[in-house]
C-alpha cells in the first residue's frame, strides 16, 4: 500500500514536471492567448493536469459533479484529475500532502477546517490567487476569513432547522407556526408527550457533530463561544437537559449522530427532529407528512445555526504560475451559472443571493432553508479560527455531562470554560 502510494506519487510528480514544462512552453508560445477560449481542446493537452480533491466520494465519474469539474478543466485549458476522500480523512490527507510538497491544485474542504489549514500555511488567500468573492453572502464567507484575509470561496451552504411530523403535531393539538421561541417550543413538546408521542430528537454525541447541533440553541440564547459558562450558555444547556429529564427528548440523544437521530425521527413517533438540508431527500421517503421550521431563538425569531458546507480553496504551490489555471477552475466551479447545478447536486443552499432566489423559485420548500442560511454563522467566524476546535471539545463534553446527569449545566459549563480558556491561550 505504502509503496504503491509512493509509486503513484512518483508518477504524479513526473506528470507535474511534464505539466510545468508543458505549461511554460504553452505560455511562451502564445502570450495572452490563455483567455479561456473554448477552442482549447488542443491547448488542454498543453495545459497539463490539475488535481482537485473533494470530500464527495458518493459521486463517481458519471455524476453531474465530476462532469462539471471536467468541463471547467476544459474551459481553463487543463486536464482535471479529481480524487474524492471521506470528509473525516481529508484534513489529515491535505496536511500530509502539504508536508510532502504535493498538495492538490484545488482543495474542497469543510468550512471549519479552513482555519486549521490556514494555520498550517497550506492555503493561499484569495488576494494571491485573485479569486473574486464579492457576490458571496458575508456571513458564509466569514468562516474562511482569518486576520482580514479570505482563504477560499464557499461552494454552498447547509445548516440546521427543525423537521416536524404533521400528524403527530395534529394529534397533540400543536400548531407548528406557533412555535416561535423556547417557551412555545417547550410547551409544544409537553403537549406532544401528553398525547403519548415523543417530543424531539437531536444529536448530542461527543464529537464535533454534537457541538454543531447544540450551537443554534447556544447562539439562540445570545451566548458567545468565548464564554461558555455565561448565563445565556447555561440557559441553552439547561433547556436541553430539562427536555431529557422530562422525557421530551430520549436519552439516546447522548449517543445519536445526526444520522441515527434522523432514523429516530423517521420512525414517525417523534414530533420534531433537528437536522439539516441534506435530509430533504430522505424526508420524502418517510411516508408521513412533514414540515420544516427554523430553530427558534430564546426570545423569538430565527436562531443563528452553524453553517455546514465546503470551501473551494487553492493550496500553496511551489510553482505559483499554477494559480492562474487554478483560479479559473475555482471561478468556474463557484460561478453563478454553475452554482445552481452544484448546489442542487450537493443539496446545498447557494452562497449568493442571486442563486438562492432562483433555488426558491424552483423549489418553494427551500425557502425556510434559505432563511436559515441567511441567519447562520460559521463556527470559526468572529475571528475564532483555530481556537474554535479547542472550545468545541470542552463544550461537547459539558453537554454530555449535563445530559447524562453527571453534572448540572452550570457546573459542567464552568469546568468547560476553564478547560477552553487554558487551551486557547
Amino acid at each position: 500500500m505504502e509503496s504503491l502510494d509512493r509509486g503513484r506519487r512518483a508518477a504524479g510528480l513526473g506528470l507535474v514536471v511534464l505539466a510545468v514544462t508543458g505549461g511554460l512552453t504553452a505560455c511562451s508560445g502564445s502570450p495572452g492567448g490563455d483567455g479561456g477560449a473554448p477552442a482549447g481542446a488542443g491547448q488542454a493537452a498543453g495545459g497539463g493536469t490539475y488535481t482537485i480533491w473533494d470530500p464527495y466520494p458518493q459521486f463517481d465519474d458519471s455524476s453531474d459533479w465530476v462532469k462539471l469539474l471536467t468541463q471547467c478543466g476544459t474551459q481553463a485549458g487543463v486536464t482535471v484529475k479529481r480524487t474524492a476522500y471521506d470528509t473525516t480523512d481529508l484534513t489529515n490527507k491535505a496536511l500530509l500532502a502539504a508536508q510532502q510538497g504535493n498538495s492538490p491544485d484545488v482543495l474542497i474542504v469543510d468550512n471549519p477546517v479552513v482555519s486549521t489549514l490556514v494555520e498550517a500555511g497550506v492555503l493561499t488567500s484569495t488576494d494571491e490567487t485573485k479569486i473574486d468573492t464579492s457576490a458571496v453572502s458575508p456571513n458564509l464567507l466569514a468562516a474562511g476569513q482569518i486576520g482580514g484575509k479570505t482563504y477560499g470561496i464557499p461552494i454552498g451552504a447547509n445548516t440546521l432547522a427543525l423537521y416536524y411530523n404533521k400528524q403527530v403535531l395534529k394529534k397533540a393539538g400543536v400548531d407548528a407556526a406557533a412555535v416561535k421561541d423556547w417557551a412555545s417550543m417547550t410547551a409544544a413538546l409537553e403537549k406532544v408527550k401528553a398525547a403519548g408521542k415523543k417530543g424531539i430528537t437531536f444529536s448530542a454525541i461527543g464529537t464535533e457533530e454534537g457541538s454543531f447541533q447544540f450551537l443554534p440553541w447556544f447562539w439562540g440564547a445570545g451566548a458567545n463561544l468565548t464564554k461558555l459558562d455565561s448565563a445565556e450558555g447555561v440557559a441553552a444547556l439547561s433547556l436541553w437537559t430539562d427536555w431529557v429529564k422530562k422525557g421530551y427528548a430520549p436519552t439516546s440523544v447522548i449517543n445519536n449522530t445526526q444520522t441515527t437521530s434522523w432514523q429516530e425521527f423517521a420512525t414517525g413517533d417523534f414530533a420534531f427532529g433537528e437536522n439539516g438540508t441534506w435530509q430533504l431527500a430522505n424526508a420524502k421517503k418517510t411516508g408521513f407528512e412533514y414540515g420544516i421550521i427554523p430553530i427558534p431563538a430564546k426570545g423569538g425569531g430565527t436562531a443563528p445555526a452553524p453553517t455546514g458546507g465546503e470551501f473551494v480553496s487553492v493550496p500553496v504551490q511551489k510553482d505559483i504560475a499554477r494559480y492562474v489555471a487554478s483560479q479559473k477552475l475555482v471561478t468556474c466551479v463557484a460561478s453563478t451559472g454553475n452554482s445552481l447545478t452544484t448546489t442542487t447536486t450537493l443539496s446545498y443552499i447557494a452562497p449568493t443571493e442571486e442563486v438562492q432566489a432562483t433555488q426558491v423559485e424552483q423549489n418553494a420548500e427551500l425557502k425556510v432553508w434559505v432563511e436559515a442560511v441567511k441567519a447562520a454563522k460559521g463556527r470559526t467566524s468572529d475571528d475564532l479560527g483555530t481556537k474554535y476546535p479547542k472550545i468545541s471539545e470542552p463544550m461537547w463534553k459539558a453537554m454530555q455531562a449535563a445530559l447524562s446527569g453527571s453534572q448540572p449545566p452550570q457546573e459542567a459549563l464552568t469546568a468547560a470554560q476553564a478547560t477552553a480558556a487554558s487551551a486557547v491561550q
Binding site: 473525516t88 489529515n92 486549521t116 494555520e119 461527543g206 439516546s252 449517543n255 476546535p389 459539558a398 453527571s406
Partner: protein, 279 residues
C-alpha cells in the same frame, strides 16, 4: 526480512516516538520543523484531567474483560471436551463472534443496548425491570462496552484453551480418577496446573489485544458520555484525529504509553517462562 522489519516496524515506531517528543502544531507538522521538547507531551498528557479516568477505565476494561473471557472460555472448553452429539456444530457456532467484523458486532451491540428501542431494555421491561441507559449513562457505558468485548473475546479463549485441554493426555485423568480424586479436585490439581502454559499465553495475547481495543468503544459510545468509557486507546485516537485541530504529539505520547504497558507485561511473561524453564 531486515528491510521489511525496518520499513514496517522500526521506522513507524521511531516516527511515533519522535512525534511524541516534539511540539507539533499543524503548522510545524507541514513544515517539519517542530521543536524538540523532550518529555513535555508526556507531562502534558499525564497532567491532563482525562489521564486518570482513562487509565482507570483501561485497567477496569482490561481486567474485567480478561477475567470473564478466560473463565467463560475455559468453562466452555471443559464442556466441549466431553463428546456429545452436535458438539462440533455448537463449537462452530461459538466462533461466530470472532468471525464477525468488529464494526458489525459493535453496531449490533449498540442497537441492542439502545435505551429507547433496544432489545435488552425490552426484555428487562418484560420482566418488570426499569430500563437502563446502557450507553448514555456514565455509570453504565463502561460496563456496556466491556460486556460487548467479553462476548467478542470468548471464542478466542475457547479455541486456544480447548486445544490446550486436548493436549493433556487422558491417562493422567484416568490415573487421578483411580486415585479417588473428585471431579473438582481433578480440575484444580491436574487440569489447571497442566494448562498453565496455555493459560498464560492466552491471557497475554488477550491482554495485548484488550489494551488496544478501540473500534468497539468508538462505535458504541465514542468514549462517552463525557469520557465515562474513554480508555487510553480511544483517547489517543481522539487527540490525534477526533478533533478539527489534531494534536499529534500528545496523541502519539498516549499511544506510546500503551505500547510500554503492553511491553512490560510481555517482559513479565518472558521472565515467568524462563523461570519455569529453569525450574
Amino acid at each position: 526480512m531486515v528491510v521489511y522489519l525496518l520499513a514496517f516496524y522500526v521506522y513507524p515506531l521511531y516516527r511515533n516516538v519522535d512525534l511524541s517528543l516534539r511540539d507539533y502544531t499543524v503548522r510545524s507538522f507541514v513544515r517539519g520543523d517542530a521543536p524538540f521538547t523532550g518529555l513535555a507531551n508526556y507531562a502534558k498528557v499525564v497532567r491532563d484531567a482525562t489521564f486518570g479516568p482513562a487509565l482507570w477505565h483501561t485497567v477496569v476494561f482490561t481486567v474485567v474483560s480478561l477475567a470473564f473471557q478466560f473463565t467463560i472460555g475455559l468453562a466452555l472448553a471443559m464442556f466441549f471436551t466431553r463428546s456429545f452429539r452436535l458438539s462440533a456444530t455448537l463449537r462452530a457456532l461459538f466462533l461466530v463472534p470472532w468471525l464477525l467484523p468488529l464494526i458489525v458486532s459493535s453496531s449490533t451491540w449498540s442497537w441492542m443496548l439502545n435505551s429507547e428501542s433496544g432489545v435488552v431494555n425490552a426484555v428487562l421491561a418484560a420482566v418488570g425491570i426499569d430500563p437502563v441507559n446502557w450507553l448514555t449513562s456514565p455509570d453504565w457505558s463502561l460496563w456496556s462496552v466491556t460486556i460487548a468485548n467479553i462476548w467478542i473475546g470468548i471464542p478466542f479463549n475457547l479455541v486456544v484453551l480447548y486445544s490446550g485441554l486436548q493436549a493433556i493426555p487422558s491417562h493422567i485423568h484416568e490415573a487421578a480418577e483411580l486415585d479417588g480424586a473428585t471431579g473438582w479436585q481433578r480440575f484444580w490439581k491436574v487440569t489447571f496446573p497442566l494448562l498453565r502454559p496455555v493459560s498464560a499465553i492466552t491471557l497475554l495475547l488477550g491482554l495485548v489485544y484488550t489494551l488496544k481495543v478501540f473500534d468497539i468503544i468508538w462505535i458504541m459510545t465514542k468514549g462517552g458520555p463525557s469520557d465515562a468509557s474513554t480508555t487510553l486507546a480511544t483517547w489517543s485516537y481522539r487527540l490525534g484525529f477526533g478533533n478539527l485541530l489534531p494534536s499529534f504529539g500528545p496523541g502519539a505520547a498516549v499511544g506510546n504509553l500503551l505500547i510500554v504497558i503492553a511491553l512490560v507485561f510481555g517482559l513479565v511473561y518472558i521472565r515467568a517462562q524462563r523461570r519455569q524453564g529453569a525450574a
